[in-house]
Every structure is written in structure tokens, then in C-alpha cells.
């Protein structure tokens, strides 16, 4: 890779051992993909729950701190592995809580801002068109590329930390014009009405597109979705297909139909079939709204559905630390918790030791309106059920979907 003066001095160790190690890691990745050089980034976003890091990952972060590592650009975090105020609800053991505290201390020593959110485009700062960033959550990356017109690859935790420390990332993938063009056309005559349907549609597109380098162009929608719809749509597409960018006419700044025939058609039956592929009904153990974290408007909608109910099964609604104080202030938290639910902040269900939570609480059959969550939780031993928010709330009251 071609290095400029600053990068050469980093590699020579003139900016400290942490920056040197970070750049060395980035060069390995950049050379794998044939990157010609680096591109400066304006911000980095690090996925770093301790279930993923484990103790060795936390020790690595701590070693960067001992080397006086310090981020050069604003660097923020994805959800943590617990909500410290709700560890008794989740039944997280002390070892998990302690490891999370160690990770937080290590991040703070590097100058990382502990935002603990996977909806930073709704809560912190959405990137602008053409802005190069190093984002580390698939749902965040696909939103940044497809809705904002910003430029990011999937940056896994170590690479996002490296980008924060060096202020740059290798120029490959979605930082390059040629990878941002649509590569296949998908047509739908189905207009989703609920968030679970938006997620299911996104999941189907992702599954059809199939790999990171595919950029689907979706046509046929007859209305422009809002931010929460696009959040579920993109997060599921990224989850099912490892997709980092899509084109949606009227939404994606760079949207352009490829000169290709329509490769796939998606109808209402396909969406229904995807939802039915998960356990469509029956007893449930828990209801979870998470993945991505809920916006203020989703919490408002949920609170309205909770009024006058008394849940017989646990209901967890997970949001960001930025949204939670407003939800408290506006009385939304109280309305949800008066019905027997719990509003959690700064975590995301699948990033919070989902297997340990299941074992500790005896939860197996989990109802949610998140297509992303049902796609993930199978590997953790859950039987996930995908339904609308309204039906999930009903299930929390009646004990079955």
C-alpha cells in the first residue's frame, strides 16, 4: 500500500506503539483486498460487547492503553453486553458485569466515547453524503451507505479501534465508486406495513443477494419508508445476506437501476413464508424488542400498546442510552414498566450473552418483531417467533402468540 508521510511515521512508531500496531493491522487487511492507499475517516464506531471480545479481547484493549494509545477521531461504541441497572432482570453473573467494567475502563483510556448504541445515525450524528467513516455494526454500515450516502465497510471491532487510533482505513470495498453501484435488480409488489414486515422484506433481499459484494437495487415500493422502517429493513438485509449497501429509488442518494433484467421478484407470499419459517405461534417464554435498539417513536408506540395490560411473560424493550432519558422524561418507560415490562438501555439482546440469559432464565421461545434477531438467535438455541409489535405485546399478556 502507498503510505503518506504521516502513515510512514506511524509505522515507524513515532506516534506510539498502539498507533503502530493499529496501522500494521490495517495494512494486513488492506493488502488482502488490494487497497492502493488509506482514506481518512471522520469517525469510528466500535462493536465491542464482551461476549465477542472475551477476556483476551479486553486484555488487548488494555494493552493499547498501556502503550498510551489515544484515538485521533471521534470514536464511539456499539451496545455493551449488559445494562448495569438491569443485571438482576437479565441474571447476568458478576463475571460478565466485571468484564464489561474492565472493557469500559480500557475504552475510556483510549479516549473512546461510550455511546453504546447501534442506532447512532438516529441518536449521535448521521454521516453526510460522501463522508468516509469506519462503522462497526452491520445495521449502521448499511444505513450509512444506503440512506446517508456515506462510505463505510464493515469494520469489525479490532479494525474500528485501529481506525480510531490512526484516523484512517484502507481504501477498498465501499470506499470505492465501483463497488457502490447496484449489481442486481429485485422487484417487489409488496408494501410492508409493520416493522417486522420491513425486516422480513430486507431479510429476503439479503438472502437473495447473498454476499457482501452484492448491491441490490430494489424497485416496486410505492411509498417512501421512514427511518425506523429503513432501520429494520437494512439491519435484516445485512444480517441475512451480509449486505453493506442497497439502492432504493427515492432514498439512496446514489440510486441507479443497473442495466440488467430483474433477477428476483418478491411478493406477499414470500414475506409470509419467511415469517412462517420461524415458529409462527404457540407458547412463548419472553418477548424482546431489540436489534436494532428502539427509537423514541418505537417506544412511544410500544407504550401505547402497554396501557391497561398486565404481562404474564417478561417483555424487554431495549433502547440506547441517548433515548432512555427522554423515554423516562416523557413517561414512556413508566407506562411500559407499569404493565410489567422492562426498558433496558445501552445493550442489545443478542450482544448480551444471549445463551447465558436463556439458561439463567429458562427462556427458549422468544417472540420479537425483529427479523434480524430471529435470524441470529437460532444459533444460540432459541426458538424465535417473528410477529408484529402488537402481536408480541399480546403474547406477553396471554403467554402465547
Amino acid at each position: 500500500m502507498k503510505l503518506n508521510d504521516l502513515e510512514r511515521s506511524m509505522l515507524a512508531g513515532e506516534h506510539g506503539a498502539a498507533a503502530k500496531r493499529a496501522l500494521e493491522h490495517q495494512i494486513k487487511v488492506g493488502e488482502f483486498f488490494g487497497a492502493a492507499d488509506f482514506v481518512p475517516v471522520t469517525q469510528a464506531h466500535v462493536m465491542a460487547d464482551t461476549e465477542s471480545l472475551g477476556e483476551p479481547g479486553v486484555a488487548w484493549l488494555e494493552s493499547l492503553g498501556r502503550e498510551n494509545g489515544r484515538v485521533r477521531v471521534p470514536t464511539i461504541t456499539d451496545p455493551r453486553g449488559t445494562d448495569f441497572a438491569k443485571t438482576s432482570v437479565l441474571r447476568h453473573p458478576l463475571r460478565i458485569v466485571d468484564l464489561e467494567r474492565r472493557a469500559i475502563e480500557a475504552f475510556q483510556k483510549l479516549g473512546v466515547l461510550m455511546t453504546d448504541t447501534c442506532i447512532n445515525y438516529q441518536t449521535i450524528q448521521a454521516p453526510a453524503r460522501g463522508e468516509s467513516v469506519a462503522f462497526g455494526d452491520t445495521g449502521v454500515v448499511i444505513y450509512a451507505n444506503s440512506v446517508c450516502g456515506a462510505r463505510s465497510n464493515y469494520e469489525g471491532g479490532p479494525s474500528a479501534v485501529a481506525a480510531g487510533l490512526t484516523g484512517r482505513t484502507p481504501r477498498y470495498g465501499f470506499h470505492l465508486e465501483e463497488h457502490r453501484r447496484a449489481t442486481l435488480r429485485v422487484r417487489t409488489d409488496f408494501m410492508p406495513k409493520s416493522l417486522n414486515e420491513w425486516g422480513a422484506l430486507g431479510g429476503l433481499v439479503g438472502r437473495l443477494a447473498g454476499n457482501y459484494w452484492a448491491v441490490p437495487y430494489l424497485e416496486g415500493l410505492d411509498a417512501v419508508p421512514g427511518s425506523d422502517e429503513l432501520k429494520h429493513f437494512g439491519a435484516a438485509m445485512a444480517s441475512f445476506g451480509s449486505i453493506a449497501m442497497y439502492h432504493l429509488a427515492g432514498v439512496t442518494p446514489e440510486a441507479a437501476a443497473p442495466a440488467l433484467p430483474v433477477a428476483h421478484r418478491i411478493g406477499q407470499g414470500d414475506v409470509a413464508a419467511l415469517q412462517a419459517a420461524y415458529a409462527p405461534q404457540g407458547e412463548i417464554d419472553v418477548v424482546v424488542f431489540s436489534a436494532p435498539q428502539l427509537s423514541l417513536y418505537e417506544l412511544r408506540e410500544l407504550a401505547a400498546m402497554c396501557d391497561g395490560r398486565r404481562f404474564t411473560k417478561p417483555l424487554l424493550a431495549v433502547t440506547s442510552p441517548q433515548i432512555k432519558p427522554d423515554a423516562d422524561r416523557f413517561g414512556l418507560t413508566k407506562r411500559i414498566e407499569d404493565a410489567g415490562g422492562h426498558v433496558l438501555a445501552g445493550m442489545c439482546f443478542y450482544q448480551s450473552y444471549a445463551r447465558e440469559i436463556a439458561e439463567a432464565n429458562g427462556w427458549k421461545r422468544l417472540a420479537t418483531n425483529s427479523a434480524k434477531l430471529v435470524n441470529i438467535l437460532g444459533g444460540y438455541g432459541y426458538v424465535p417467533l417473528l410477529a408484529s409489535m402488537e402481536h408480541c405485546v399480546d403474547a406477553a399478556e396471554k403467554g402465547r402468540l
Partner: protein, 132 residues
């Protein structure tokens, strides 16, 4: 038989293959405590991956694998190498961070060419997979 990859990273390794035309995600597919594929719908469900050379189709899902390969390596419950038709940046970043050998991109579907259970040698410098 020797197969050439377009991309490679890591050190030379020799081991036994576990082959399936399916994807790979450390978070979505694995029970990392037991060292087995745990997603019921995965074609390698129930099989141990530790010390095996996984020959699979593509990277799936999210970003966690970048940390998880490193964590798995420290416990010795990690694949010896990953061989894939295509890859996302996460697995490459994870392989770089966790020192896991990886070969990616072949002429044709590599999962249809390398036998399940075969002993193979990977040479990342030469970008080759040799079936012994």
C-alpha cells in the same frame, strides 16, 4: 490436486477438511464454548470445528467474528484455517487479528472440489490449497 486462491492471509498449515456449501459466522453458527456448529439449519450442525480446515461458501452475518476468532484462538477452540469462495471484510479482519490462515476466491465452487475429510495443505504465500 492444487487449487489457486485470489486472496490469502496467514501462515502455512496442514489439516483435515470440513466441507459444506454453507456460510460462516462465529456468532450465528457456532457454540463457541463447546466448539461445534450449533445452528440447527447449518449443514455442519453438531460437528466440531476445532483444529479443522473449514471449506465453506461465504461469510455471513455480522461483525462479531472479528473479535471471536481471536478469542477462540486463545482457548484453542478455533478452526485451523478458513477456505471460502467469497468473504466479507469481517472475516479477513478477524483472521488478521486472530492469526487464522485464510484462502479466498477460486475458479469454480471450492466446496464442490475439495473432498470432505481430506487432508490438505494451505500455503498463503503461494495462495494455494493442495489436496494430499
Amino acid at each position: 490436486m492444487i487449487y489457486s486462491a485470489r486472496h490469502a492471509i496467514g501462515k502455512p498449515v496442514r489439516g483435515q477438511t470440513l466441507v459444506a456449501h454453507d456460510g460462516f459466522s462465529a456468532r450465528y453458527d457456532l457454540d463457541r464454548i463447546k466448539g461445534v456448529f450449533s445452528r440447527a439449519t447449518h449443514k455442519l450442525a453438531g460437528q466440531s470445528y476445532a483444529g479443522r480446515i473449514l471449506v465453506l461458501d461465504t461469510a455471513k452475518g455480522g461483525v462479531a467474528s472479528a473479535w471471536m476468532l481471536h478469542e477462540m484462538a486463545t482457548r484453542g477452540l478455533v478452526p485451523l484455517a478458513l477456505v471460502l469462495n467469497s468473504v466479507n471484510p469481517i472475516l479477513v479482519q478477524g483472521a488478521a487479528f486472530g492469526n487464522v490462515t485464510m484462502l479466498v476466491g477460486f475458479d469454480g465452487d471450492i466446496t464442490a472440489q475439495v473432498p470432505h475429510g481430506a487432508t490438505v495443505e494451505l500455503d498463503p504465500a503461494a495462495r494455494t490449497l493442495r489436496v494430499l
